[in-house]
């Protein structure tokens, strides 16, 4: 156990990269859950991981490969005739099979697989940080533009679905975010940060605004805890990060509704 590592400048960039993703992924997860697409994160993550490993074999930069594969996975999702959990599960299986096949047959892909599956956050660099900042910045802009349409489609479906441009922009942002995240945090830690805080916030927050803050608070707290523990215990970030998210979400206090509401 080496506490001094926490203050090593070497880990500042990785910490910031993960922090940006820990802020952004739960927000994205809330909107995916709103649309009934939470499993799509895992489907896109697995497809993106296969693409990233394929990119490594072709000699592409890791971040470019991940983001590009994420965008392709988003287009695959967008193009589904009948989006459903079953379709996302099929994406997941296809992505996993392709990733393992590529990894098993090429040494370069085997190295990259360590980053994708274990979550080698501590070896990320400036490119990862720039990509995380980009998906956060673009993603916030897309959500500011599409927020009302996405929520309205859920509570007033008779007013019509969001326009095609909104759906495409949202899917592309989701895909690129997942592609960047899996190369920094790992597949399952990325999924955990997108899924668990949103799951908890949906059940416990008093409002949408409250859910956004609550999900981000759970995610960032869990991320910092996971980062510190993984570094100090010399473990890959992925499994420690997942455990931290589950722990923090489980300990997050429930929202107490005000007396006198909901009678009748």
């Amino acid at each position: 156990m080496n506490i001094d590592l926490l203050f090593d400048p070497l880990f500042r960039l990785p910490f910031l990269t993960g922090l940006l993703l820990a802020v952004w992924l739960p927000v994205l997860g809330l909107y995916l859950r709103l649309r009934g697409e939470w499993l799509a994160v895992l489907g896109m993550a697995q497809l993106a991981s296969a693409g990233a490993l394929g990119g490594a074999v072709l000699g592409l930069p890791a971040v470019a490969g991940g983001a590009g594969a994420g965008l392709l996975a988003a287009l695959a999702k967008w193009g589904l005739k009948r989006p459903s959990d079953s379709a996302y599960a099929a994406m997941l299986l296809l992505g996993w099979a392709a990733a393992v096949a590529v990894m098993s047959n090429h040494p370069l892909a085997e190295q990259a697989a360590g980053a994708v599956f274990d979550g080698q956050l501590y070896f990320t660099g400036g490119g990862h940080l720039a990509a995380a900042a980009a998906v956060l910045g673009i993603g916030v802009q897309v959500l500011l533009w599409s927020h009302r349409a996405l929520l309205r489609a859920r509570v007033h479906p008779a007013l019509g679905p969001p326009g095609a441009a909104i759906r495409l922009a949202f899917d592309l942002v989701a895909g690129a975010s997942v592609g960047v995240a899996i190369l920094s945090l790992g597949v399952m830690a990325s999924f955990a940060l997108a899924f668990v805080p949103a799951w908890r916030a949906f059940a416990t927050a008093p409002s949408w605004r409250g859910a956004l803050w609550r999900a981000m608070a759970i995610s960032v707290t869990a991320y910092v805890l996971g980062f510190v523990l993984a570094l100090v215990l010399d473990q890959p970030f992925g499994p420690v990060g997942v455990a931290a998210v589950l722990l923090v979400a489980g300990l997050a206090p429930p929202w107490r509704r005000r007396a006198g509401r909901g009678a009748g």
């Binding site: 309205r152 859920r154 007033h156 008779a158 007013l159 008093p206 409002s207 409250g210 509704r257």
Partner: protein, 191 residues
């Protein structure tokens, strides 16, 4: 908003349905400041008419004319999507641009509660209000009285008696207490 008396939407010889017509040959004129009520038995196609006013794919024959730039609001019969959703009443109103001004006092106090913590009647009136108080020109209201208690029905009845002057309302209901033949245009649809 359009001046009272302006024709906002007109349907002539309208047939609506999915694979086959549920309802044929409907003539309908929606006028600002006026409520048009569709009455008829279950399965006669009343709700499909409301949907067809906004969805061309449900129109199998006939013609629908809409005033240029018409904004059409639609309150569906079933309240779907609110369960397990962290959305407050105030946020629901903001989604459609509805104002809370004029909301009955018994509901104004609930605006900061989650929708899935409201009673069925509170939620229904808030859903209605999120459409009725939004800047739509035509309001399609499908069974807005569902789940409302006497107080809610009275508030809805009052609103239907004096709808906003610039909005046309088309109402589908089985609740006779909401029908006022003196103030509303009533269209009876046979099964």
């Amino acid at each position: 908003m359009k001046p009272p008396g302006t024709v906002l939407l007109e349907a002539l010889g309208l047939s609506v349905g999915y694979d086959r017509p549920l309802l044929k040959g409907l003539d309908l004129q929606l006028v600002a400041g006026r409520v048009t009520t569709l009455l008829g038995p279950n399965g006669a196609g009343k709700s499909t008419v409301l949907r067809a006013l906004g969805e061309a794919r449900l129109r199998l024959a006939g013609r629908v004319w809409q005033a240029p730039g018409l904004r059409l609001g639609h309150l569906a019969q079933a309240a779907e999507g609110q369960a397990e959703l962290p959305l407050s009443g105030r946020e629901l109103l903001a989604l459609t641009g509805a104002t809370a001004d004029g909301l009955p006092p018994w509901l104004a106090d609930c605006l900061d509660a989650r929708l899935d913590r409201l009673s069925g009647g509170q939620l229904q009136y808030l859903r209605f209000w999120s459409i009725a108080a939004a800047p739509f020109d035509v309001l399609c209201l499908d069974e807005p009285g569902n789940n409302l208690d006497a107080r809610g029905l009275a508030a809805l009845r009052d609103w239907l008696h004096t709808p906003p002057a610039g909005q046309a309302v088309v109402l589908v209901t089985h609740d006779d207490s909401l029908v006022d033949t003196a103030r509303q245009s009533v269209i009876r649809i046979a099964s």
